[in-house]
């Protein structure tokens, strides 16, 4: 800070940090190792989701690699003397010695040999679909579900919470009682009963989850924060200076509850993905492919008892769920402290 001399740069920096609480949150993310680790995992999954359609259009033939309808008959391997490839097939690099010897005898070229080794890097499932393709394809669905739920939840929570804090009166009473009720609502049993009576797909699920959590606990938390902001003198000053109610809510209340909303958005993603995985694990959702469904396929086809031998049927999907949930949870947890310290400052 140049020994306290106020340079142009430093005033700019000061101004910036005090202007937007969200910017402070971002700075904290950049400084925290756990948060960066979480972001790294999310980027990795994002990369998977993006590259899957590309692969499907270039190197992966849809008939073999489609995550829902694909099937590999392994007929091209018979010529190489590999007859023991049956579904669920282990990762194709299990047969690397055979491929290499075929290459040495000149039966196949080096490129073909490598292509055979990388044919099913994570094996196939009991009905002959490629696990890696399913894994990557599901990532997109999980992103859509998680983000959609989080956006619905947080928009409802932020708007209702700030409105309840600012307008008080019957608006406040009504939404707080509603939040009480929804906080107690048994979510997973409700979704199970619902799935028995209607077709639950990802969008439906995201809307139901978003409404249940958006009008629930998040409203209460955000209202408390908005009330703290409202009690500050500058809010009153803005009103006295002739700012309309909407202006005050938009310019003063919402920016200051935004970090808190963002924090709960992260936790909502974790919860939504967990719920989706649990429901599709029981086979209750109408989704083409998801991580929970992959494990469901395994248990429904009777591979549970020999799960260590058929590790590729559950380990990649289980790890993906855990890592994806952990990524959002880690960012959220590392942000919790900075947001709560902001909360105390108001």
């Amino acid at each position: 800070m140049n020994r306290g001399r106020i340079t142009r740069k430093s005033t700019k920096k000061l101004h910036r940090t005090s202007a937007s609480p969200m910017r402070e949150v971002w700075q904290h993310i950049r400084a925290s190792k756990t948060a960066l680790f979480g972001i790294g995992i999310i980027l990795l999954f994002g990369f998977c989701a993006l590259i899957h359609p590309l692969l499907m259009h270039t190197v992966w033939h849809p008939r073999l690699y489609d995550p829902v309808t694909g099937y590999d008959s392994f007929s091209s391997w018979y010529a190489l003397g590999i007859y023991d490839a049956v579904h669920p097939a282990p990762p194709s690099w299990y047969w690397t010695p055979q491929f290499l010897s075929s290459w040495r005898t000149g039966q196949i070229s080096l490129g073909e040999c490598l292509a055979h080794i990388a044919r099913h890097p994570l094996g196939t499932d009991p009905i002959g679909r490629d696990i890696l393709s399913q894994l990557m394809y599901s990532t997109r669905a999980e992103f859509i579900l998680g983000l959609l739920t989080a956006i619905i939840t947080v928009s409802i929570g932020t708007i209702v919470g700030t409105a309840a804090a600012y307008y008080a009166g019957w608006v406040d009473t009504f939404f707080m009682r509603l939040a009480d009720l929804l906080m107690l609502f048994p979510g997973i049993p409700f979704l199970i009963v619902l799935s028995a009576m209607m077709d639950l797909n990802l969008v439906n699920l995201a809307i139901v989850l978003g409404i249940l959590s958006g009008f629930g606990s998040i409203t209460i938390i955000i209202k408390a924060q908005a009330l703290a902001v409202k009690s500050h003198a500058y809010v009153e000053a803005a009103r006295l200076a002739g700012g309309s109610r909407l202006w005050v809510v938009r310019k003063h209340l919402i920016p200051h509850v935004l970090p808190l909303s963002f924090l709960y958005m992260l936790f909502t993603v974790t919860a939504a993905i967990g719920t989706e995985a649990t429901l599709s694990f029981f086979g209750l959702l109408n989704v083409g492919c998801s991580w929970g469904l992959m494990i469901h396929t395994m248990s429904a086809s009777g591979y549970l008892a020999s799960s260590i031998r058929y590790w590729w049927l559950w380990l990649p999907a289980g790890l993906a769920i855990t890592l994806f949930c952990a990524a959002f949870y880690l960012i959220g947890r590392s942000l919790e402290q900075v947001v709560h310290s902001q909360r105390q400052e108001g």
């Binding site: 009480d180 009720l181 199970i192 009576m197 008892a305 949870y329 880690l330």
Partner: protein, 388 residues
């Protein structure tokens, strides 16, 4: 305090009413009624379906049906299950509720006890290696995909090692010529556990009131516990039920262990955060400045003041365990409320599914009341601020 609790109780009753209403109208909003199952059945003529609808009052207006629904719930009539046909829903729920309750109650109590203890130490040694290990471990427990963890436990302990039973509530071969039904024996186990717990609480209250201090009084509760357990075993042995009691407990062990283990994570982190928040308080600084022993600061000043959010969360999760129990009960084939709900939903047994769902909701509300009572008992300061 009584007035506050009465006020809360009234609020909860209103919430219960709204909950049941909401459930009813969400279900009502679904297209068709249960007679639509027969829509594609060629043996059912339209007249027969209309007759069926008239018998169940489905052709009347929504409001008449709603009033009837409310009246039935208030009088405890939840209808008749489709899948176990002549059995009333309430009878099935009555049989399965204790199983869920015992499993989750004990798992919650044990996991919160361990989590609180570990969380206290984790906060005390903040930043050291042990703390980092504990925090990383509990974060992985929270984010791990629970069904998978349960599977692995099942595979390792039941299938690979063969130490514990694979699933189910009892061993059917053993029970084929048992003198009593499993429900009755289970009831006796619950009686024994309740009496033992009550005895323990009584003894420790008496000890505290008499002010018996020192190393001697420390040994009295464990001795009482041992005696109570021994007498329970002797009683069961005399009536020839011991082997059946052990069979139930043997089947309880694995789900209890997995559930406890997975729940330690969240209670540990909760306690750790609460203790760390208390550490900032002035009275802790004052206690340090007075030169009190570290153990006294940790146990009397930090842990005791941090217990509040932990107990609230425990009470809430006790209520929640009835709803979160679906996964555990399905994986371990533990025939409780959760499994009943899932099976009924999958099998189209709507009366049973709705009944189980409403019971779940009622228990969640009761958990909320318990959390309120615990809060008011533990911290009188909070009574006013809760009023909102």
């Amino acid at each position: 305090m009584l007035r506050y609790l009465g006020h809360r109780l009234l609020q909860i009753l209103v919430l219960l009413f709204v909950f049941i209403t909401l459930t009813y109208f969400i279900l009502q909003a679904m297209p068709g009624d249960f007679t639509s199952i027969y829509a594609s059945n060629p043996q059912m003529t339209p007249e027969m379906i209309a007759n069926l609808q008239a018998r169940f009052g489905l052709n009347e207006s929504v409001w008449v049906q709603y009033v009837r629904f409310l009246r039935n719930i208030v009088t405890g009539d939840l209808g008749v299950s489709f899948s176990e046909y002549p059995r009333p829903v309430w009878d099935i729920i009555k049989e399965r509720l204790p199983r869920t309750f015992v499993l989750f109650f004990s798992a919650n109590i044990i996991s919160f006890y361990i989590g609180f203890w570990l969380g206290k130490w984790s906060a005390w040694y903040k930043g050291r290696a042990a703390d980092k290990v504990l925090v990383t471990g509990s974060i992985s427990l929270i984010t791990a995909f629970y069904p998978l963890v349960a599977f692995m436990a099942l595979w390792v302990f039941s299938y690979h090692l063969g130490w514990l039973p694979l699933n189910n509530f009892v061993d059917p071969i053993l029970w084929s010529n048992a003198p009593l039904s499993s429900m009755q024996v289970f009831g006796y186990i619950i009686y024994a556990a309740v009496v033992t717990t009550a005895l323990l609480i009584l003894v420790s209250l008496l000890l505290r009131k008499k002010g018996v201090a020192g190393a001697k009084s420390r040994w009295i509760p464990p001795i009482v516990l041992g005696l109570a357990l021994l007498s329970a075993v002797a009683l069961f042995q005399r009536s020839g039920l011991l082997i059946y009691v052990f069979d139930i407990l043997y089947h309880l062990l694995l789900p209890l262990f997995v559930l406890t283990f997975i729940r330690i994570g969240s209670s540990l982190l909760l306690t750790r955060d609460a203790v760390l928040a208390v550490t900032q308080e002035d009275y802790v600084l004052a206690a340090r400045a007075r030169g009190l022993a570290p153990a006294v600061i940790r146990n009397r000043y930090l842990a005791r003041n941090a217990i509040h959010p932990v107990v609230t969360s425990l009470a809430l999760s006790l209520g929640e365990s009835f709803s979160g129990g679906v996964v555990t009960e399905t994986l371990f084939s533990w025939p409780g409320i959760g499994l009943t709900l899932l099976r009924a939903s999958l099998g189209g047994d709507y009366p049973l599914a709705v009944g189980a769902f409403i019971i779940t909701g009622i228990f969640l509300l009761l958990g909320h009341v318990a959390a309120d009572i615990a809060t008011a008992c533990l911290d009188p300061r909070l009574r006013d601020s809760i009023g909102r």
